[in-house]
Symmetry: C2
Subunit: 227 residues, 2 copies
């Protein structure tokens, strides 16, 4: 890619940056394409709040403006779940297990996208990007492609200037995302994945299990420390 | 309506209750239909925050559980506007005027609906209702019917159990809403409309102007006090 001879203006993009590996690669990917970027992360009372530190460091490393929006005022609407209610224990093992449904914050993706779109509008940006991928789980209804399509339609209509929703990894699995991040030199050592939010990654929760499988699939060494 | 012989279960509905006249009538309307209800209001740093007191009083009068969700953590995403930024003066006169665009909070409806839907999901409710009506303004893109249709589609897909978006006033103008509220004995004296948020309604802002026209059209005396 030769940025010097690029003549068409790139879309300005607000990136939803969780601090995990998918959105870290998304940031690298859009930066490599030359898009002017801003990044937004959300504090919704998650137990693994240290992912927000990771998000801030990833944005700094990429030279991108970063804002943490605080959704904790919505906690009374969420009900009991293990991500935002510390009295509910984090289940271990694979996402496929029934117990993983406890990790759901209701309607999280719609709330985050709606908020990121608001920032795109007030910033006179063109698009919002997020790291939806083909491996998103059957237990997360708001990761379904048909949900994303409906949100895309709403996003094009919520303001006079359409805001485009970008999901460049929608055909990728997590192993392919790791491989792309490896090529783009994504600083994986800055990312945070574990739902437990301890000093090191626990290596046991559904989120850690998936991360380890993705790095193994890509044949890339995961630089983060595990318990 | 005879509730005693009602045999089909009514949908349980979360009502988006601003504290203004439209949502007040919406609450009366759904209560009269026998729906189990909860009401949610949003603090997004609006200048006319006293509408939240009106919302609480309307919910109490209707015997409905009420929660105020706090969206002020999103203020950094909104940019400058007269509703949430006290340094921007409230424009006077009709909504049709260009200056009224200053009253826009970007993507407000998507954010509020997304949040209300989250509460419907965690409450195992069936639907979210809001007071969209035919008079919603050309300056509010997120009041367009096609936007509402896209949000309805997203709402049916954001969880395994579909959440229905109800807009029973979509064919009504504000005069018709006042007439219905008059029939249903909606306590209009508890509502708050003015964007200025003073002791009494200013009678000059776009919101007051519209309210006065609606009551005049319906031939109903507005019980609130004006400056």
């Amino acid at each position: 890619m030769n940025q010097e001879v690029e003549s068409t203006p790139r879309e300005k993009v607000v990136v939803v940056l969780s601090g995990g590996m998918d959105s870290a690669v998304l940031l690298s990917h859009l930066a490599a394409q030359g898009h002017p970027l801003k990044a937004v992360s959300f504090n919704y009372g998650q137990r693994h709040v240290r992912e927000l530190d990771s998000a801030a460091r990833l944005a700094t490393a990429a030279g991108v403006e970063h804002t943490i929006a605080d959704l904790r005022g919505l906690t009374p609407l969420f009900g009991a779940n293990s991500l935002s209610d510390l009295s509910v224990p984090v289940p271990e093992g694979h996402y496929a297990e029934e117990s993983m449904k406890l990790t759901i914050v209701p309607n999280r993706n719609m709330i985050m996208l709606a908020s990121a779109i608001a920032w795109a509008i007030s910033s006179q940006f063109d698009a919002v990007a997020y790291g939806a991928h083909s491996g998103d789980h059957a237990i997360y209804p708001d990761c379904r492609p048909e949900f994303a399509d409906a949100m895309s339609a709403a996003s094009l209509l919520c303001d006079w200037k359409p805001i485009r929703l970008m999901r460049p990894f929608v055909q990728f699995d997590k192993g392919q995302i790791v491989a792309l991040g490896h090529d783009l030199k994504t600083p994986f050592e800055l990312t945070w994945t574990c739902y437990q939010g301890g000093e090191k990654h626990c290596g046991k929760c559904g989120s850690c299990t998936e991360r380890q499988e993705a790095f193994a699939q890509a044949g890339v060494v995961d630089p983060v420390a595990y318990v």
